[in-house]
């Protein structure tokens, strides 16, 4: 096995939103930091958004599901027992290369659901503890938005002005205005003016296929290039097989990984931080069993891999008489609403959902509204094809507004990531299996919100609506498989993301979220890592090293 001679202060696994913020803060604080990334650099020139083929390519090589892409750099996931197909990307920048840029910080109540609603667990700190870190990362990503949203406590504002909400956003807002319901112009992780090396959003509406414009924030765009100048080392194509645990020291000492040439390598470090996402991180921990931790590294609680949360996701579409140019972006949220976000138990469920107002995509997305499902009920293809296909395009393409409903999923131990007994990746490393069932609370939540969203569309003047409840292809947000907490019996990590079991092992990705809120998690994830890294820097002398 090849082994690097240099022992770094910090080894980070994963270069997505969490790993990149950690790498930046720790490198800039003077630590020697190495990041191992299983993927490689994407060339923005390859992104399909500015090409005629973009929707076709989105069905395969730019699909967010690793099981669909099936690239050599993706690891397979057994989803045969999952209601939802998990999404992620394997690249420098991780899933941020294909995120929508929706910047939706969690709300105060999200951190205290046990205290407020008697369900799940509280976070070990509150919203206000995280707020200054949120404001810091909003500067980092060159956020664009409008200050003053009454859906949140007051905060500092955003570095670049609002991106236009377009005809779709305006149409949705008009409906909410008629109903007297909350809405706010969309806050996005992309600037509206040239800012910090990022170009302004050009409203192509192809964020989730990679941003051709170099506008949407992603760690590969500026961050890693900047911190390389400060000595940060990024190793791409490095697939971590296991974390090395020294039984005598009771510490981790580094990682074993497979490089792009298939060679096994060892990298030593004083501190290891896992940022490999909610499936990748427990996979590594469970694959790192030892005499001390026969059930997986840092797993004395038995909770590594447990409490997987995936936001229940539904779509409500409104179809309008007028041309809304509904392929225009950003995509990116145009507007959003928190009207039904907080718990009202009279609705028959707890917690709530955020709706994101979005454009509807290109013409092939119009085909997706009918698909092949119509044949399940003895329909005939002529019902949807022939002249009827042209009529459908006339009625829907360019004239459709979306409410994308993201609800809170409460943690349940039975929803989990485990190691599949047979499946492996292309390097022979055991691959994960996801076991996930949508809860009754989530189903009721989605039904209620879909009904309200239809009302909103009708208030906006939609001539017809379509509802797609709880889509299987929707696993954008994966949370909670190594959660934070104060009690080692009920959590994997302490409040700073340090393993209760191994003092120099940290998990700073979405695995660490005790609960998942009903909002896109990247804003809160980056704020959390900013908090954790700031604490590590401040307490550096007290961090126990190998």
């Amino acid at each position: 096995m090849a082994s690097s001679k240099q022992e770094f202060d910090v080894l980070i696994v994963g270069s997505g939103p969490s790993g990149s913020v950690a790498a930046k803060l720790l490198t800039e604080a003077g630590m020697s930091v190495i990041t191992l990334e299983q993927g490689t650099w994407f060339d923005p020139g390859d992104y399909p958004g500015d090409k005629k083929e973009f929707e076709l390519a989105g069905g395969k090589q730019w699909n967010p599901s690793p099981n669909v892409r099936d690239n050599e750099r993706d690891y397979p996931i057994n989803t045969s027992e999952s209601d939802v197909e998990p999404y992620m990307q394997s690249a420098v920048g991780g899933s941020a290369t294909i995120w929508g840029g929706h910047w939706v910080p969690f709300l105060p109540s999200d951190f205290k659901v046990k205290s407020l609603d008697g369900v799940a667990v509280d976070w070990p700190f509150d919203y206000y503890e995280l707020l200054p870190h949120l404001e810091a990362v909003e500067q980092l990503i060159s956020a664009s938005g409008t200050q003053g949203n009454p859906g949140y406590p007051p905060q500092a504002g955003y570095p670049t002005p609002q991106i236009p909400i377009g005809k779709v956003g305006m149409k949705l807002a008009e409906g909410m205005d008629k109903l007297g319901w909350h809405w706010w112009p969309g806050l996005n992780g992309m600037p509206s003016i040239p800012y910090q090396g990022q170009n302004p959003c050009a409203r192509r509406g192809t964020c989730m296929f990679g941003c051709n414009e170099g506008a949407k924030w992603s760690p590969d765009l500026v961050l890693f290039k900047d911190i390389a100048k400060s000595g940060h080392r990024l190793v791409v194509g490095a697939r971590v097989r296991e974390i090395i645990y020294d039984e005598t020291k009771g510490r981790v000492t580094g990682a074993i990984y497979i490089d792009q040439n298939g060679r096994e390598r060892k990298q030593m470090a004083k501190v290891v931080i896992l940022c490999g996402n909610t499936i990748g991180t427990p996979r590594i921990l469970l694959n790192s069993a030892s005499n001390t931790f026969p059930e997986g590294l840092a797993n004395s609680s038995g909770l590594v891999g447990k409490n997987l949360m995936m936001h229940p996701f539904g779509l409500v579409m409104g179809h309008f008489d007028e041309d809304l140019e509904s392929w225009r972006g950003p995509s990116g949220q145009l507007i959003n609403t928190l009207q039904f976000y907080e718990t009202d138990e009279s609705r028959g469920f707890v917690r709530g959902a955020k709706w994101g107002g979005m454009a509807a995509g290109g013409p092939l997305s119009s085909k997706g509204f009918v698909g092949a499902e119509v044949f399940k009920d003895d329909g005939k293809i002529e019902d949807e094809w022939g002249e009827n296909w042209h009529k459908m395009i006339e009625e829907k393409f360019g004239r459709t507004a979306l409410w994308a409903i993201i609800g809170e999923d409460l943690p349940e131990e039975s929803n989990r990531v485990e190691i599949d007994p047979e499946l492996t990746d292309s390097d022979g490393i055991p691959a994960p299996k996801v076991v996930y069932k949508t809860s009754e609370n989530s189903r009721r939540l989605l039904d209620f919100h879909a009904d309200r969203a239809v009302e909103s569309m009708e208030a906006s003047g939609a001539v017809s609506t379509s509802v797609m409840p709880q889509m299987r292809e929707s696993g954008w947000h994966l949370l909670g498989t190594a959660r934070l907490g104060n009690d080692p019996r009920d959590s994997v990590l302490d409040q700073y993301g340090r393993s209760h079991d191994v003092p120099n092992l940290f998990v700073w990705d979405l695995s660490s979220f005790p609960t998942g809120a009903g909002a896109n998690p990247t804003a809160t994830l980056m704020a959390l890592v900013h908090r954790q890294a700031t604490h590590m820097v401040n307490e550096a002398r007290n961090v126990e090293a190998a």
Binding site: D323, P363, K367
Partner: protein, 144 residues
């Protein structure tokens, strides 16, 4: 143009025109070449569709168009999906079809970020603000 036989292309042209016929100002699928150069272009982009596409063409070859396509949809959903994706994917990449449906592609849409939005000038956003905060605060809870 050599990868697929003339017979495959001819069968596909009939199927494609049944799925996407000429309609008002919209051209038919074969008239924009979905069975010719666009077929090759789609397969360059999505080689994963080829297996299902060829299965679909083979299944429908020689059958009445409606019988063949309805039978395919019931018996081999993956092949039917590949066939319709190849058809509409190729169709919507052509300039003729895009012009007919009014789609310029995912082009840039320049804007002035300093321009005052209509929802500000017409008072819509102010009405949201005037209704006041809607979040549940947690300041009253003890910090751990």
């Amino acid at each position: 143009m050599s990868k697929y036989s003339d017979e495959i292309r001819a069968t596909f042209a009939k199927l494609a025109d049944y799925l996407v016929p000429k309609y008002k100002n919209k051209p038919s699928a074969s008239s924009v070449g979905v069975h010719l150069e666009m077929l090759d272009e789609v397969m360059r982009i999505r080689p994963d569709l080829e297996e299902g596409f060829l299965r679909a063409v083979q299944y429908c070859h020689g059958k009445d168009l409606s019988d063949g396509l309805n039978g395919l949809a019931k018996e081999d959903d993956a092949a039917f999906s590949a066939l319709t994706t190849v058809t509409t994917g190729g169709y919507m990449m052509t300039d003729e079809a895009r012009k007919a449906v009014g789609y310029p592609g995912q082009d840039k849409a320049p804007y002035d970020p300093t321009e005052m939005p209509q929802y500000v000038t017409n008072g819509m956003l102010q009405r949201v603000i005037d209704r006041g905060p809607i979040f549940r605060d947690t300041k009253h809870l003890d910090k751990d």
